[in-house]
């Protein structure tokens, strides 16, 4: 996907128009809705990319047993919520024409899907974080995360 800021703004307005009518953009115009989601996802991934060091440190803290699984996953949930808030705020500014010449960092695609997977593992192993399967998965995830960063 090649990011197009003007098209993104246009789709945000289209989506809002449907919302104002109480209609689902996805149901009314699935292709455009998915295109909007792709642009929105690029924004989310760009924000996540900016936080990659924080994520790496968090994972290290867990893998090195500095924090337990409960604390680790609590921070993952917080990270995800903060990302959603930051993304929503950015999209409001974008729609209002307050953002000039935005272009997501192309490297941000490297970590696509990581946060979603991390969240689901934490949710799935809730109150069972001492399970070796959880630790192994985080270990594997962190190695892949590091590899992605080192490929830069």
């Amino acid at each position: 996907m090649i990011y197009n800021q003007q098209r993104h703004i246009q789709l945000l307005k289209r989506s809002q128009d449907f919302k104002d009518q109480g209609k689902s953009f996805y149901k009314e115009s699935p292709e455009e809705s998915l295109q909007l989601s792709s642009y929105n996802a690029a924004v989310e991934e760009n924000i996540f990319w900016q936080q990659r060091y924080k994520v790496a440190e968090l994972m290290q803290d867990f893998l090195n047993r500095k924090i337990d699984g409960q604390k680790f996953c609590s921070r993952v949930f917080g990270l995800r919520r903060n990302l959603m808030i930051a993304s929503d705020k950015f999209l409001i500014q974008l729609g209002a024409g307050e953002v000039k010449d935005f272009q997501p960092d192309p490297r941000s695609k490297k970590l696509s899907g990581f946060l979603g997977g991390l969240f689901c593992y934490c949710d799935d192993f809730m109150e069972d974080y001492e399970n070796d399967q959880f630790y192994d998965a985080m270990q594997n995830g962190f190695l892949n995360f590091q590899k992605a960063l080192n490929e830069e």
């Binding site: 989310e44 790496a56 997977g117 991390l118």
Partner: protein, 207 residues
Amino acid sequence: MPHQEFTDLTKEERRQLSHHHDKIIDVEGHQRLRVGFWQSRFKVADHGAVHGLPYSVKNNGGTKTEKSDDNALLMMQSIEDMPHRPNAIWFDQDDVTYQGGTDREFPAVYILDDDTKVVAVFNKQTGNFVTTCQLIEKEEIELKTTHNFGGGEGWFSGQVKNLIPQQTAVNTFESDVTGITPISPTSSFENDVMGITPIDNSQLDNP
């Protein structure tokens, strides 16, 4: 249920036991689903907020809803109402899965509120409620186009053998055990001002 039989159950199995507060979602043309009380009570602390329940915000940005019977019931009511919301979407085709591509994959049924992006996940085989959350954009695309989400696109799958983390010093896990260039927190604008610990830029930010 006999005591011995109960004690032999795993925690996960105990949460699926029936309760007189369980709610049934029975919508024509769709699979009959059960929103179990015990599983809802288990999930309400971390996921109650997306269903409009009162919550506090933790220092790390996460939310916490009081884990109580009343809140569990309120979340169950919200989930039971989801199919009746104006822009609810069912995903209950044969190919629908949760955590597809991992060893935790199972056939699933989803009810998505397309206005709020809140989704409820059910196990297709049992019809039981599993979890709920608000989707990020990437997950929304994945669900709508592949009928799956939560697999992490392979980031976490597979087993990494014989890797024992060192606990004596920062960054030993990567360098000592895996040979991967470690992350080296240093003082910087990102660290001091943004609260983000940077990776050694000489390793990571070169084009």
